[in-house]
């Protein structure tokens, strides 16, 4: 049995075990592979980052999630909230799904653990759960007056009395309307908030439904889109390199890979803020592995073919 035979006949089980290891190891010991940002993610990041340090601009987040989409969408929730807290951007959150409200609470409290200075109702405001039937009236009403449309925060306090709402009046003060959703997202904001009040809308969706939403990006109805784990990983990375150092995004710095790598010290970050990248590490390793499998298999095949040819000539 020569080398080519060996390669050709290698038992599948070795492939399986190599793949399993290749997926398990990055999960246990994060690699910190570089992430490359795609335009829809970058555009969203830049839009949100524009509001840094201002007190009359806020990011509005709608959590339309359910537990089944948690693995893909939850890292997005954390990354965006972290971005806002790091860069002193005001955040307003709402959910029209009871389960989404629970996830919203969970995400806020999990991110807030690392930011003792960030204060509820000053730096962020959780509007809490609203009945789904109120979605259109509230979305429309916010164009005129947020405090009147939403009325109270999750704790039942009137919005007009809250410090955060002092300069946040209507959609003019909303930097981005972000909906993170496992179902058909964004439509309500595109149709009402965008069409009528010209608000910038962005969405976070699962990888499967990302393809369906690209047309909205092309027509400009969405300013950004996070698709699945990959989108979340890209956003996480942007937050890590720029927001974590409290610097605004800059094209030059982004293109400077060595500078980027300096900023990119994955190990210091808690697991929750790198889970998307860890998942993507595993994906990348597995993808490369499969490609290597294909190449090795073909090398074996060509050697064998040449040997066969030689045999024939003889």
């Amino acid at each position: 049995m020569n080398f080519s035979d060996y390669i050709q006949k290698i038992d599948r089980r070795y492939i399986f075990i190599i793949l399993a290891i290749a997926v398990i190891l990055p999960l246990l010991f994060p690699l910190g592979l570089p992430t490359f940002t795609t335009p829809p993610v970058l555009s969203l990041y830049k839009h949100i980052d524009e509001a840094a340090g201002t007190d009359d601009r806020a990011v509005f987040m709608d959590f339309a999630q359910s537990p089944s989409t948690l693995p893909e969408l939850y890292p997005m929730d954390l990354a965006i909230l972290r971005h806002c807290f790091l860069r002193d951007i005001k955040v307003l959150t709402i959910s029209y799904y009871p389960q989404g409200a629970a996830i919203m609470q969970m995400a806020i409290s999990e991110v807030k653990e690392d930011f003792p200075d960030v204060k509820q109702d000053v730096d962020y405001c959780n509007f809490g759960f609203r009945n789904f039937a109120l979605r259109v009236p509230i979305t429309l009403g916010m164009g005129d007056n947020i405090a009147e449309a939403v009325e109270t925060n999750a704790a039942g306090r009137r919005l007009e009395n809250l410090p955060i709402m002092e300069k946040l009046k209507n959609y003019d003060n909303i930097q981005v309307c972000m909906e993170i959703s496992g179902a058909a997202p964004g439509i309500i904001y595109i149709n009402y908030a965008r069409a009528r009040y010209g608000v910038d809308v962005a969405i976070g969706v699962t990888a499967v439904s990302a393809a369906d939403n690209y047309p909205y990006l092309q027509t400009g109805q969405l300013v950004g889109l996070l698709g699945g784990l990959k989108g979340a990983a890209e956003y996480e990375e942007l937050v890590e390199t720029f927001a974590n150092n409290d610097i605004p995004y800059s094209e030059k710095k982004a293109q400077n890979l060595s500078w980027r790598n300096q900023q990119y010290e994955l190990s210091k970050v808690p697991y929750k803020f790198k889970q998307a990248r860890i998942g993507m590490d595993a994906q990348a390793v597995a993808h490369v592995l499969i490609i290597i499998f294909i190449i090795i298999g073909n090398i074996g095949y060509f050697i064998e073919k040449r040997q066969d040819k030689n045999k024939y000539v003889k």
């Binding site: 839009h47 005129d144 999750a154 039942g156 400009g220």
Partner: protein, 933 residues
């Protein structure tokens, strides 16, 4: 020894896992405490029919699955009325949970539980003992006596109410103070519970209700019941309207008011507008009933003259002194003013107003079942959602969206940037321009070329959008065009609505400034709403009020209510006549002139009630049977409630609005009722294509029957079938055939089964065993018969084994696990996969590769083809699967259809090539014959 090591190793691993998992095990706390902090409060702004219950949620360690809410009108028997499901893993992080019991909520229907049952698992010694019941049962003995403790609304299918209800007369005998006996009888419509769609309840104001909450965890353990709280719903004044604007137009001598609609719509009666004079005194100058249950108008025009009628000293010269306010009044006549301080009017002229929407037209919406009117107006418009540059700013990409309507159907659009114009022959929603990077444009003009069948568009009509490049964000900002703050409200009124005084228009839709068309939904009326007046436990029957409404085209009364039954009608007439007679008797005895005229008046009224009946009702009343009568009335009723007239109002929401007149078409028709259509015009091309195909099939089958030789080219996979079966025979191992994983109505399954017949026959001839696992149980017997028949045909009925065609299960992955098991255990030499497959395809074919089987697949599932192609030896791609089944069958009928299919395909290719050439030459008519979606 070796074995011992293995066992030891295994034990070490298991114990390690066990230790790890123990430390990872989630903490769970038993669900043995009641929920705390249960509070109850009144629901704001309502009619006294709502209460809100709040409580503190339990920690997530308790793995709560749902919170159940119980309600009763006495504290000793509470019924389950609802639940709030919770995700047991994440729990509820908020501080409070809320359950709102407001408005009409479900009470009981025919599918409610049969008997009254206690909630299970009520803990002994807790205060929950024996007072908790499950949902309200459908047992009349239980629910009927409760009806009086709530407000009731029933929903009845119209047919059941009109044709199947039973008339019941109930006579009440009262002895009056003066000793005379007064009998009043009223008529009801009797219905069994099963005839109702369902019955709804709402709380009664001023009555005390009791609530309690119980938490149920993931293992169905119930927490002890919370304490029982009680409250009395209170009728509240309506909410404050959030916005109110008043504008005085001095040239037309009128005022326009606009306000925002309240959120709680159920309890509202009218909007009243007040004028405050210089002394601060309040005068009602306008009032309008709300359109409940439909959306009400949110604006009004009041002329100075009308104001003067209500408030005599009114002088428009003093307008700057007047202040205005609006109130909302509910049905209990409670009133709330919108503004704390009345506001002055904006004084202006109608010059500030835009032009009203032009070319406003209403007609029946085509191609529907008769539930839409089509409304359109205005000239075509284009929206520009996005403009972007390429990297070096030499190209400008504009995304656009055309908004047009029946009158102006846009054929082509011409875009112009910096004097360069681009004609869009195919409206593909994007257009590109070459631009000068040093001198970026800031304006785009659009002109339209419309089809001839509508109106002619003025030559100079164009839409202009202005934009600029935002350096900071690196995007193009597009300015909102002029008039973007105006929207168009569609207002409608049916034949029973209002009359001139009431002027209650419904407001079904607000369209943005870009919209040019709106199909207005006019639903068929399928249910009626009635209250319950009485019940009879013995007869198991509920009684509702009896009346029915038809429109009259009269000014004074917009609608006429009539009785439901002929007998009732007769009875009513008799009573009326009797009353008239008694009045007449009285009159003849009366001496006083004044009394006589008063009596005359009464007689007149009653006589007109008796005789002044709309013609339709008269006609209906002459019918012999109830059914015939109601049929006629129902027809009239449906016609009246579904015929609408329309006008449009263009408004900025701040009191600047302008109306179109009510639309009347060329025939003078004002009311429009949607017509059900008999043919979908859009599908004409489908019909033609279908007919062409049908004719091809007919001729090809005829040709095939006549024995004409129909050539079919060889298909690779089919020719390999014999070899593959031969291989299995040589190896002495069985064949596996999976006829897809879909059902019998899937075309691919049928093709797969047809191929199964041929494969099974060959296998029988070669005496090779064939295994057919089936996922769909309807396919199973068919597959069995096919294989059986194949054995008969091959002349080997003895070798047929019924157990070789078998069902596994219909769960997708369980099925795969079974098939994989078979492949490995039976060591099948050849595997066929023919039919529809989903994600399971690769799981099977790779296992087949592991066992070293030859594999032939065929599927029309585009998503799975890549996996079959890569892992199988031969694959029938898409249509080849159908062709293969025809090819193998050799039946003239089937071959004929395959041939027809081929010719059809040829036609398709020819028309696609033709269409592409034409459209490339900017002739798009051919392409537009085909449907876009």
């Amino acid at each position: 020894m070796n074995k011992l090591y293995k066992i030891l190793f295994f034990l070490v691993i298991v114990s390690l896992c066990f230790n790890l998992s123990l430390s990872a095990a989630p903490k769970i706390v038993p669900n043995d405490e009641p929920i705390r902090d249960l509070k109850i409060s009144d629901f704001p702004h309502d009619d006294g029919g709502g209460l809100v219950i709040t409580w503190e949620p339990l920690p997530k360690e308790k793995r709560i699955l749902e919170y159940r809410v119980f309600r009763g009108f006495t504290p000793d028997s509470l019924f389950r009325i609802g639940k709030i499901p919770v995700n047991p893993k994440t729990g509820v992080v908020a501080d409070t949970m809320k359950y709102t019991n407001a408005g009409y909520t479900f009470f009981v229907d025919a599918t409610s539980p049969a008997k009254l049952k206690h909630e299970p698992g009520q803990r002994k010694g807790s205060n929950a003992e024996k007072i908790l019941y499950r949902e309200y049962p459908r047992d009349i003995k239980v629910y009927a006596p409760m009806l009086e403790h709530y407000r009731i609304l029933t929903v009845i299918p119209a047919d059941k109410y009109l044709y199947n209800s039973r008339m019941k007369v109930k006579t009440q005998i009262d002895t009056l103070e003066d000793g005379t006996v007064d009998t009043t009888s009223s008529t009801y419509a009797g219905l069994k519970l099963r005839q109702f769609k369902y019955i709804l309840t709402k709380l009664k104001p001023g009555k005390e209700y009791y609530y309690a909450v119980q938490a149920v965890n993931k293992y169905r353990d119930r927490s002890p019941l919370s304490k029982i709280v009680s409250a009395t719903p209170v009728d509240n004044p309506p909410e404050k309207l959030k916005e109110f604007y008043s504008v005085a137009y001095t040239d037309t001598k009128e005022m326009k008011f606009e306000w925002s609609l309240p959120f709680f719509k159920t309890d509202q009666k009218q909007f009243n507008i007040y004028l405050y004079d210089a002394n601060g005194e309040k005068h009602k100058i306008f009032s309008r009933a709300t359109a409940y249950p439909y959306t009400s108008q949110s604006n009004a025009t009041v002329s100075f003259e009308e104001i003067k009628n209500k408030f005599e000293p009114f002088n428009s010269q003093n307008m700057q002194w007047y202040r205005f306010n609006i109130s909302l009044k509910d049905r209990q006549d409670m009133e709330t003013l919108a503004k704390d301080e009345p506001i002055p009017a904006e004084i202006t002229t109608t010059e500030v107003l835009p032009e009203p929407p032009e070319h406003f037209t209403v007609r029946d919406n085509p191609d529907d079942k008769g539930d839409k009117n089509l409304i359109y107006f205005g000239k075509p418009y284009v929206t520009i959602p996005k403009i972007s540059y390429n990297d070096d700013f030499t190209e400008l990409l504009v995304n656009y969206d055309i908004k047009d309507n029946e009158l102006f159907k846009v054929k082509h659009a011409i875009f112009e940037v910096d004097g360069v114009s681009e004609k869009e022959y195919v409206l593909d929603r994007k257009v590109e321009f070459d631009v000068d990077p040093d001198n970026l444009p800031n304006e785009i003009k659009t002109r339209f070329i419309c089809y001839d069948h509508g109106l002619e568009l003025p030559e100079d009509y164009e839409v202009i959008h202005r934009f600029s490049y935002n350096e900071r964000l690196q995007v193009v900002d597009i300015e909102p065009p002029k008039g973007a703050n105006y929207s168009v409200q569609v207002l409608r009124m049916n034949k029973t609505g209002g009359g001139p005084q009431a002027n209650v228009w419904r407001f079904p839709k607000e369209l943005t400034y870009v919209e040019r068309e709106y199909p207005d939904k006019v639903d068929y009326e399928e249910v009626v709403y009635r209250g319950i007046s009485d019940y009879s436990i013995e007869d198991n029957i509920l009684y509702t009020s009896t009346y029915y409404l038809v429109g009259t085209s009269e000014e004074e009364r917009a609608y006429y209510t009539t009785a439901l039954y002929l007998k009732q009608l007769e009875k009513n007439r008799k009573e009326l006549k009797k009353q008239i007679q008694s009045l007449k008797d009285k009159k003849s005895q009366a001496e006083d002139e004044e009394q006589k005229t008063a009596l005359d008046q009464q007689i007149m009224e009653l006589t007109s009630k008796l005789e002044d009946v709309p013609p339709v009702v008269k006609e209906a009343n002459a019918k012999k049977s109830n059914k015939a009568r109601m049929k006629l009335l129902q027809k009239k009723h449906n016609n009246d409630v579904r015929s609408f007239r329309y006008f449009l109002r263009k408004t900025d929401g701040k009191g600047h609005f302008i109306d179109t007149p009510i639309y009347t078409n060329a025939d003078g028709q004002e009311y429009f009722k949607p017509k059900p259509n008999w043919f979908k015009n859009k599908e004409t091309i489908t019909l033609i294509a279908m007919l062409i195909f049908g004719v091809l099939v007919f001729f090809m089958i005829r040709a095939a029957r006549k024995g004409k030789n129909l050539y079919i080219r060889p298909i690779a996979g089919i020719q390999e079938i014999d070899n593959a079966i031969g291989r299995a025979t040589e190896m002495g191992r069985p064949i596996l055939f999976v006829p897809g994983t879909s059902g019998i109505s899937d075309v691919a399954t049928l093709a797969g089964l047809a191929i199964l017949g041929k494969v099974a026959k060959k296998a029988a001839e070669f005496e090779t065993r064939i295994l057919v696992p089936v996922r769909n149980y309807i396919v199973l017997p068919i597959a069995q018969e096919i294989v059986k028949e194949a054995h008969y045909e091959a002349g080997r009925p003895d070798t047929f084994d019924k157990n070789s065609v078998f069902y596994i299960t219909n769960a997708q992955f369980a099925f795969v696990s079974g098939v994989n098991g078979i492949m490995v255990r039976e060591q099948t030499a050849t595997n066929f996969y023919m039919g529809m497959f989903w994600a399971e395809s690769l799981l099977m074919t790779e296992t087949g590769n592991m066992t070293g089987a030859i594999q032939i697949a065929g599927t029309d599932a585009i998503t799975q083809l890549p996996f079959f192609i890569t892992t199988c030896d031969y694959t029938l791609i898409g249509e080849e699967l159908y062709a293969a089944s025809a090819y193998l069958s050799k039946q003239p009928m089937i071959l004929g259809t395959l041939k027809a299919q081929d010719y059809m395909k040829f036609l398709i290719v020819v028309s696609v090539v033709l269409g592409t050439i034409l459209s490339t030459l900017k002739l798009t008519f051919f392409m537009k014959w085909f449907p876009a979606k």
